[in-house]
């Protein structure tokens, strides 16, 4: 490497990192990775990195003009390029978070029993439902047009505490399909991902949908379920819990939400 080669390489690394942070911030894609409350810190990081780029440019000019040598580089510096390669070649989208393995599941469930009968196999993605997502979903009481606040009510103890009051109410739930071996038979979850800081801490939260068969529903598929709440006993890790359950559900396939609505936040 030439006299100032290490400094030039470091400048290139700093510029690559600054570019990744800057593009994510300006495009709004940062919300696919982080909760909104963390975004100001990323701006701080991008500004600091940009400042270091400017300073490194000054160092290079200084190095080229003087007789000094920049010293040997460390092989580990090449590690900085690894995440840059991945962000350029495997770009995540709004369907990616739902496909992550090893996610924790929260026990809040509304079940649409026998909903398989109402799955419309031939439906195209429901564009209206996709746009609705930005306004009020994932959950609205249709008879009163009253909203659950998903950040506060839907995935906390609200449903447990108000179970009796919710009995018999009509609800629309929007989310992606999730199921695994721990679920009761023929049961899926209409779910959302809740993140506190970043996608690495995502937990799945949502409503169980009990169907006679799961054939019509695919993992990570976005759907909207409308049905009536009943209180039912749901088994979970060896115990039974009385939970609000969505019955007689109508299931529509939907588009995935925009990046701004990819997650819910506690």
């Amino acid at each position: 490497m030439g006299k100032c080669g290490v400094k030039i390489l470091w400048l290139f690394i700093l510029m690559s990192l600054t570019a990744v942070l800057g593009v994510a911030l300006i495009s709004g894609n940062i919300l696919l990775y982080l909760a909104p409350r963390m975004v100001p810190m990323v701006w701080f990081g991008a500004i600091v990195l940009a400042g270091l780029c400017v300073y490194q440019g000054y160092e290079i000019v200084h190095c080229l003009r003087s007789a000094q040598t920049a010293g040997k580089g460390r092989p580990g510096m090449l590690l900085f390029f690894v995440p840059v390669v991945f962000i350029l070649t495997a770009v995540p989208d709004t369907s990616t978070p739902g496909s992550l393995p090893n996610q924790n599941v929260r026990l809040v469930s509304v079940t649409a029993k026998n909903a398989a009968d109402t799955v419309r196999e031939d439906t195209e993605p429901d564009e209206a439902a996709g746009s609705d997502a930005a306004d009020c979903l994932p959950c609205v009481l249709e008879d009163e047009h009253a909203f659950f606040n998903p950040s506060v009510d839907l995935f906390s103890d609200y449903l447990f505490e108000t179970a009796e009051a919710l009995d018999g109410r009509t609800v629309t739930v929007y989310g992606f399909v999730y199921f695994d071996d721990s679920f009761p038979e023929n049961t899926v979850l209409v779910s959302r991902l809740m993140i506190t800081c970043c996608a690495a801490d995502a937990s799945i939260v949502g409503f169980h949908v009990q169907t006679e068969t799961q054939d019509g529903l695919e993992l990570n598929e976005w759907i909207r379920v409308t049905g009536t709440i009943r209180i039912m006993e749901i088994p979970y890790y060896g115990n039974d819990y009385d939970l609000p359950v969505l019955t007689d559900g109508l299931i529509l396939r939907c588009d995935a939400p925009d990046i701004e609505n990819a997650y819910i936040y506690p």
Partner: protein
């Protein structure tokens, strides 16, 4: 010199492996037309987890590095010794209490601790400060309270165990000699060749331009050093999150001791930010005892995959291994005591 060569070899090996994997991946993407395959989906997932860890950690690491650089330029050994209590035990308590008002997570705290140790802060209080701060700071305690609304005891229990645990661990490792445990030895040299002692020895004059340049040089050098370990740790943590089925681990948990061990292992592998881990921990309450969830909450901020690599980049290998073992033993003991004393829900 010998350890420097070993370090270079380790870096070369790690860099070679990861770069080779990246080159293979790029060739795979552009050569095989794999746009809809499961592999691409998984790699997108890996990319998402990797960058979510980096987007979250990098700004805090930068903040920690800037604070560390300011300490290098402006703080002298005398200043450190002047504010520390004379009594050795009170020094540890004092270091743990700083954490209460220092809203910094585990990513930022390592460069700051390294900076303080370079300036002569004794090992015990420095390690206590490093381990207590990500647990007992107000933001983390508030998020713990919010996550455990049905079990409000969890927040004070986490604070108490984090506080006590950090003091005990600090006391246990305090025999080590301050600057000797730092990677690079007692007289650290930055990437630009500047010898770091106190300000006078350092050669940074009071000239504003020279001070600014010194801070920038330190920041650059620290970022090179800590940043590559952060990236290596983040790559490994993302790979583990994608590839290791956590239900294999959670399937083990049943008895009092096994469930604590499993939750400690999960905290280590998942590498969650201490501000977020309470919400994930809450989801395990249906499968594990309260004591094991408490173990998850105190181990994660002290030691995880991501900051293990940062520690290896900051401290000597021998000290880091000793520190990790001490953390695991003390946290296990604390969780076991909580389980035995409190019983019931926490048993």
């Amino acid at each position: 010199m010998h350890s420097m060569t070993n370090n270079q070899n380790i870096q070369k090996g790690a860099a070679f492996l990861l770069i080779a994997a990246s080159v293979f991946w790029v060739g795979f993407c552009f050569g095989a037309g794999v746009s809809q395959t499961d592999i691409l989906r998984d790699m997108r997932g890996f990319s998402l987890v990797l960058w979510s860890i980096l987007f979250e950690a990098l700004p805090f690491v930068l903040l920690g590095i800037i604070v560390s650089s300011l300490i290098q330029v402006f703080v002298t050994e005398d200043m450190i010794l002047r504010i520390m209590p004379d009594n050795r035990f009170m020094r540890l308590v004092f270091a743990a209490m700083i954490g209460l008002i220092f809203p910094v997570c585990e990513c930022a705290i390592i460069p700051i601790t390294r900076g303080l140790m370079k300036k002569g802060m004794p090992v015990g209080p420095a390690i206590t400060f490093m381990l207590a701060t990500p647990i007992v700071n107000l933001i983390v305690l508030l998020s713990t309270y919010n996550a455990f609304t049905t079990m409000p005891q969890m927040m004070p229990l986490r604070a108490a165990c984090g506080f006590v645990g950090a003091i005990v661990i600090g006391a246990l490792v305090s025999r080590a000699q301050g600057k000797a445990v730092l990677k690079g030895g007692a007289e650290p040299v930055c990437a630009y060749g500047a010898h770091h002692g106190d300000e006078a020895q350092h050669g940074h004059s009071r000239n504003k331009r020279a001070i600014f340049r010194a801070v920038m040089q330190h920041t650059n050098a620290e970022l090179q050093s800590v940043g590559m370990y952060l990236i290596f740790g983040a790559v490994i943590a993302a790979a583990v999150q994608m590839a290791v089925p956590t239900d294999v681990l959670t399937g083990i948990g049943g008895g009092r001791i096994a469930s604590i061990a499993v939750m400690m292992a999960l905290a280590f592998l998942l590498s969650l930010c201490s501000e977020a881990d309470a919400f994930v921990a809450n989801t395990f309450l249906y499968q594990f005892s309260g004591a094991s969830v408490l173990a998850f909450l105190i181990v994660g901020p002290m030691i995880d995959l991501k900051n293990t690599f940062m520690m290896f980049g900051s401290f000597s290998k021998k000290f880091t291994i000793r520190l990790i073992l001490t953390i695991l033993l003390v946290c296990f003991a604390l969780a076991l005591v909580a389980s035995l004393l409190i019983g019931g829900m926490y048993g």
